[in-house]
Amino acid sequence: MSAGTGVWAYAITESDHVTGAGGGSDLSWLTGVGGAQVRAVTCSGLTVLASDVNLDEYGEAALRENLENLDWLDEVARLHHYVVDATARLFPVLPVRLATVYGGDAAVCASLADHREQLLDALRRVGGRVEWGVKAYAAADKAEAAPDQGEAEPAARESSGLAYLRRRRDQLAAGREARTAAVSGAQAVHAGLADKATAAVVRPPQSAQLSKVRLPMLLNAAYLLDASDGANFTAAVAAEATAHPELRIELTGPWPPYSFAGEDDDGR
């Protein structure tokens, strides 16, 4: 039994970019989740980039299950991001959160009409700007290396248990001091970079399972910048990395301005 079709939204832009007098942008090459072609739903001077989805897989009941499947989520998240990213390269967009599914084009239009001013404001604020991601990890510290790895091992075996525990206690204390220095270093990096950005957002650190890095993540932030500021910002991040050898700094981007698309888009 089929549950019908829904309209999956990826991004919003001003309709001139898609259907403008100059011909707008050709999107016929672009496919989204489920391999469906991306199309433009235009109303009230705004366009939602969207594609049709089968509610058997992308309806609310199905999503409850599918979203808990990390492989499914991985694929769908990448496809969603692919469309957002591809359109953001063509014109200013507001990225829409994953799994926003309308019942049909009429519902899309009603939503655009209801929120027209708010959406235009947001487009003015972030449209055409980009987001850079900066993560800082505590750099690997020899004092924290576990003694059952590497050269410390034979020594640990030979000495008495008490001497071992003492040495280990000292190592942990040294490790704590290094961490304190790294944490304040990460704060300084964030302050320096936020200064150069139009807006900044700090998120909780990612779990190591997702970041694939075993070092403790001390900063996970996003910065909103004009697209033309990329070189300056990259240089600023490089300078921070040089100034803070206690940190391993990772830069990603530029991203479409996901983290700045909603005015108050967290915690609800």
Partner: protein
């Protein structure tokens, strides 16, 4: 410093790049598409906010908050810049207590982990004889 991006794409020339379709870290994508991005109110069939994302949040947030607490960082929780976020995390945080004495807790955990490793090593050595 590591710069992730698409080889051959000059970010500054293109203006907008973003990670490659497959090379970008899943965590970076998920925290953006699931936790950020515009939420449009209205006549919406499905809205991510209506769906309980317990497992995903566990993977994305709770695991990382534990790690963060172990190393003694919680500054984003009190930064006035981040109040909205802090409020959103309140429920998660209250489950884990206040974090006083977290350095000691971190030590205990580390020593426990290490004890586990050493026990495993002893077993290995004994079975090797």
């Amino acid at each position: 410093m590591t710069i992730s991006g698409q080889p051959g794409t000059s970010a500054t020339q293109r203006g907008i790049a973003g990670g490659g379709r497959s090379s970008t870290n899943l965590g970076d994508i998920l925290e953006r598409v699931l936790d950020k991005g515009l939420v449009i109110a209205g006549d919406i069939q499905v809205n991510l906010l209506d769906i309980e994302l317990l497992t995903i949040k566990l993977r994305l947030v709770i695991a990382s908050l534990d790690t963060a607490r172990e190393v003694g960082i919680n500054w984003w929780e009190t930064d006035p810049w981040l109040n909205a976020e802090a409020a959103g995390r309140q429920a998660v945080r209250s489950k884990h207590g206040d974090g006083d004495g977290r350095l000691e807790e971190g030590d205990v955990q580390e020593l426990k982990d290490e004890l586990g490793r050493l026990r495993g090593r002893i077993k290995e050595l004994e079975s090797g004889r």
